[in-house]
Amino acid sequence: MTNGRHPAPRPGFVLDVDRNTPPILFHHGPGFRLEKLPAGRSRVIYPAEPLDGLPDPEAAIRHALLNPLGDSAPLPALLRPGMKLTIAFDDISLPLPPMRRPDIRQRVIEAVLDLAADAGVDDVHLIAALAIHRRMTEGELRHAVGDRVYEAFAPKGLLYNLDAEDPDGMVILGETPHGEDVHFCRRAAESDLVVYVNINLVSMDGGHKSTATGLAGYTGLRHHHNVHTLRNSKSLMDRENSALHASNWRMGSVIRDAGVKIFQIETTVNNDTFGREGPLALLQKREWEWTGRERAQFLAMRTGLDVLPSNTRRKIFDTWQAPYQMTSVQAGEVEAVHEVTTDNVYAQQLVPVEGQTDVLTMGLPYICPYNVNSIMNPILVMCLGLGYFFNLYRGRPLVREGGVLVMSHPTPWEFHPVHHPSYIDFFEQVLADTTDPVEIERRYEKQFAEDEWYIHLYRTSYAYHGVHPFYMWYWGSHALEHLGRVIIVGGDPAAVRRLGFQPASTLSDALEMASDVVGPQPTITHMKNPPLLMADVT
């Protein structure tokens, strides 16, 4: 659907680098690098330009609620006086960066609440489905659901963060045929209807994972957030080939069989991460199309950023809110909804790529799902590169088995003590001992997961759960097994080595180091991400 405001967006494509190709922009945390890739053996995968958003999001949402997909009645038919209604919604990890107001969650939740009010429903709880993520602050909740919803519900204790360590607030709904405990939010389990509000930024999001993961705690998560499952998720962005999703789907069946009625609402956004205009617009332009003025702006911006302290740079970037527009909304039965959602994510992000590469390069940006308003610590660098970006493929990994991944990021030895207390200990103790995910899981996971202080901080402060850094490491375990070497350009050498990777000062050095593994004159593919793309590798 298009509203005609913009020229037809161009799809993503693969550029073969030749001598005339300008230097390519690499994200580098809260900064950038311009890198000249070797001609004749390098290629760059560009994301598609932003699709146009829905012209009338409110109307589209209402249409979706009244015209559900799959075996589901329209939402008004599911609402009645005296019922218990729980609206669960995605937490601060989505979308990235946070979007400008009004957030999609606000639009959807307001529409759901209007229908609930029309039906006389007055027992409504709103829950940020954060599983073992950190709690959202008041400001973050207000941003997600809007001030009107916040003020109507939060002061009465009806809008809150999930507490997956509350022994009275969680239940076991049953067990899958694979012996997996289905751990679930008691309020949701005891509701007559659970409405789940998603923002599906990538194809991994949504489906049964929304509730089976988002409304669960460690007791349930450990069955799929583990090394075995994630090594067999190829990729975790491709549900059909993801053991992680298979487990969540099994859990979804148990949830359904336990009598929990879920009305799933999924939405997709376009690729307008940095804006078509404004100070960051050129980040989603192709380099050869930069005007002279934009080049000057870029150099001035980079020079300015380079002289700022890292925390100042971080704060500047943290203020950025993406002008994302909603490209689709669908509601109804979980699986039927998710099929359509996934197609809509792919429509924006999928880029066909022929063949694998010896060396995959990527510039990691300043943000990932777990450092919104926070610090991108080294473990999150690993997770963003090896967990998220590496897995943004369908078919085969972009880089061949035994190949080299080169990432660009400052990788500071720096942590947010409030948000990531167990990360500090994971980095200091666990990674100092071993980087092998299997060993880490076997020897340390339980101790961290059950650490009473971490649990206390998760429940009462704004800390990720004690086990969360383990999951970050497992997230990259498929990549760790697949790759012959990981090199980080421009990172803190000590932090990079602690991760088990190799530091390089420049991309040229990194490519030289890579040749030790993949031989001279390797093929190189740069994944120019974000805006987000997913490689469809044949």
Binding site: P417, V418, P421, E428, Q429, Q447, E452, W453, H456, L457
Partner: protein, 405 residues
């Protein structure tokens, strides 16, 4: 004989203090320490014997002296000039190899009756180190009359000597004295079975203390701090369960003890670890700095015990936690007679001989120098950790003066 002699010379002492503050060990180049030829002093008394050192170690207290960092506390407890060196394996005139137990207590001072401490076998607590037939000096190596180990000969009282068993190398034997300090510290710590004990520092004292804890106590977890990779490896090999960098110790002890923590600034500092709410049963501080003692006070559980093994000199310390958490802070100096967890008693040196053999502590002797290269030796010892060394010693086995009959 050839000897390294330390004279009372205030200008040179000040120069050593300045040089040592710039580069540890540099006090040897400008300070009151000098290599000299001199006659072996007369025997301090009847029965004393001549010892010709084979290996003579350099310890932290020696380095403090050389770099002008010694506490003024010691001024009345030494007699100038003196020859340092108290970690000694040497030969008697009949070629019997011996290890020196350097404390100059009542027996060596010919004081009878012995003081209460000596009578109890607590030689390190001797009340008479400035009295009797000898000039002041708490140990050989700080007493003018006896000489010291950094020479080709010195005098020892028979009560100070332990015969080295056949088969024990000189390198192992020279480790007996520092190991005795570690054994004494480990037993003074009174580590409860299944408790958590922390050893701050992984220089010689820290490492031998870890080995002694593993040999003589039964903690659930030994947490150790180590600044350098080789220290980390050795601490691990000798029995530490968890070895971390010094600035990581508070978080590490929190994990090991399974306790909560408090941030430094109260509100908004959740997740930071300024101090623990519970903590370790025992902390053994083998560094003795303001920083290490502050760490010790932060990680010891209420009612816990802190044992100070590293020589502290002057430190600046916030003692509120000692008061508020009702902590015990006790010193551990040298050795004597130990009461073991099973109630039996033994000489610390006997336990140390055994531990040196069982734990192969000869591996800690990582560099030796002839006396003539004492400046290099002392600078090496002062930067031992960063240079991958632990115990640096003088090797006198080939010194011409020593072997002349």
């Amino acid at each position: 004989m050839k000897a390294l002699r330390f004279r009372r010379n205030l200008p040179r002492y000040a120069a050593a203090r300045l040089a040592g503050s710039l580069t540890p060990g540099r006090g040897a180049t400008v300070g009151p320490l000098e290599l000299v030829d001199l006659d072996l002093p007369a025997e301090p008394g009847p029965g004393w014997v001549r010892v010709r050192p084979r290996l003579s170690g350099i310890c932290g207290s020696d380095l403090a002296t050389v770099d002008g960092r010694s506490a003024r506390y010691f001024e009345p407890l030494v007699s100038f000039p003196f020859v340092p060196g108290h970690e000694v394996v040497g030969d008697l005139d009949d070629d019997q190899r011996v290890v020196l137990e350097p404390v100059l207590a009542c027996a060596s001072r010919n004081i009878t009756p012995a003081c209460t401490a000596c009578a109890d076998g607590r030689l390190g607590n001797c009340e008479h180190t400035t009295f009797g037939d000898l000039s002041p000096g708490i140990q050989t190596g700080s007493c003018h009359d006896t000489g010291g180990g950094w020479a080709t000969a010195f005098h020892a009282h028979p009560s100070q000597l332990h015969v080295v068993p056949d088969g024990l190398s000189d390198e192992a034997a020279v480790m007996v004295e520092p190991t005795a300090c570690g054994v004494h510290a480990a037993l003074a710590a009174r580590v409860p079975d299944d408790g958590v004990v922390v050893v701050l520092g992984a220089g010689t004292l820290g490492l031998v203390t870890i080995a002694a804890l593993r040999a003589h106590t039964a903690p659930r977890t030994i947490v150790a701090t180590a600044r350098y990779p080789d220290q980390r490896r050795l601490a691990d090999e000798l029995g530490a369960d968890l070895v971390v960098a010094p600035d990581e110790v508070r978080r590490a002890v929190r994990r090991a003890a399974g306790t909560r923590a408090i941030g430094g600034n109260g509100q908004g500092s959740e997740g930071e670890v300024d101090r623990l709410t519970g903590g370790a049963d025992t902390v053994i501080d083998c560094v003795g700095s303001s920083s290490s003692l502050t760490d010790a006070l932060a990680v010891a559980q209420p009612g816990g015990r802190i044992v100070l093994v590293g020589m502290p000199a002057v430190v600046e310390l916030e003692l509120t936690p000692l008061w508020h958490r009702e902590l015990e802070l006790v010193g551990s100096y040298t050795y004597g007679t130990e009461t073991l967890p099973d109630g039996s008693t033994a000489r610390t040196f006997d336990l140390a001989f055994d531990l040196v053999t069982r734990a192969a502590l000869d591996r800690l002797v990582t560099a030796t120098y002839p006396l003539a290269r004492y400046r290099e030796a002392l600078q090496h010892a002062a930067s031992a950790g960063s240079r991958g060394a632990v115990k640096v010693a003088f090797d006198l086995r080939d010194e011409r003066e020593r072997n002349a009959r």
